[in-house]
């Protein structure tokens, strides 16, 4: 199996499904770190990614009511970025975070994701649950 001549070795999709319970979030964190380690991310950027995925999973657990409904995580890598999609099956409409809240207690998780990642999109579907798409560029 000769190594491809191009930057191909950076491209790939990894899917991870964990139980939506607190004790499994560490597995998501370490898997993301292993994936990120394949790209030229710095140690600090990898720490950012670990925190962002943990916050996304924590939200997904809460959205799922803490009863363990699986969380689906898709990671797509390219030479210069990592795109992570986190899906849960929480079908109760989430209350939006009041924009620009001063005291960062509620909404801290989402705030951190937005601060640490380069692009964040969240969508909610009452039939299927939430989808969070986050992207981090190398060297950002």
């Amino acid at each position: 199996m000769p190594e491809p001549a191009t930057g191909d070795k950076y491209f790939g999709t990894v899917d991870l499904r964990i139980p939506g319970k607190p004790e499994w979030v560490a597995v998501a964190r370490l898997t993301i770190a292993a994936i990120a380690n394949r790209l030229p991310f710095t140690v600090e950027e990898i720490e950012d990614l670990k925190l962002a995925i943990a916050e996304a999973c924590t939200n997904a657990i809460q959205a799922g009511g803490g009863n363990g409904e699986p969380i689906d995580i898709r990671c797509e890598t390219a030479a210069d970025h990592l795109r992570i999609v986190v899906r849960d099956r929480g079908t109760k409409k989430p209350e939006p975070v009041p924009a620009g809240k001063a005291t960062p207690v509620e909404g801290l998780g989402v705030f951190l994701i937005q601060a640490l990642m380069d692009g964040v999109e969240h969508s909610f579907d009452a039939a299927r649950g939430s989808e969070l798409i986050m992207t981090k560029r190398v060297g950002s």
């Binding site: 560490a26 720490e47 925190l51 924590t58 801290l108």
Partner: protein, 114 residues
Amino acid sequence: MDIKVNVRESSDDAYVVELGGEIDVYTSPKVKDAITELIDQGHYNLVINLEKVRYIDSTGLGVLIGGLKRVREHGGSVNLVCTNPQIKKIFDITGLVKIFGIYDDEAGAQKALA
């Protein structure tokens, strides 16, 4: 996925909660329990030592904020010891650096409690 929680009385009637490992959605309840117990016993001057903490997320921050709120109701305070740059960064970007006293060592954090 390990957390170590070690509580000890320090010289000047303050308590030190020394934490080690990773504070996340799974482990933060253990941290919360330790802090709640101290407050329930009437100890309102706390140093929380994060020097051996490798990782903290919003649930961990929430526990610290919750503790701070409770001790303040009794005129107490919470000072943190933190040297890890990644964790300092999280206190910075969340603005929590303005709410907590953050120190480089336990001696500094304790002195500032008085």
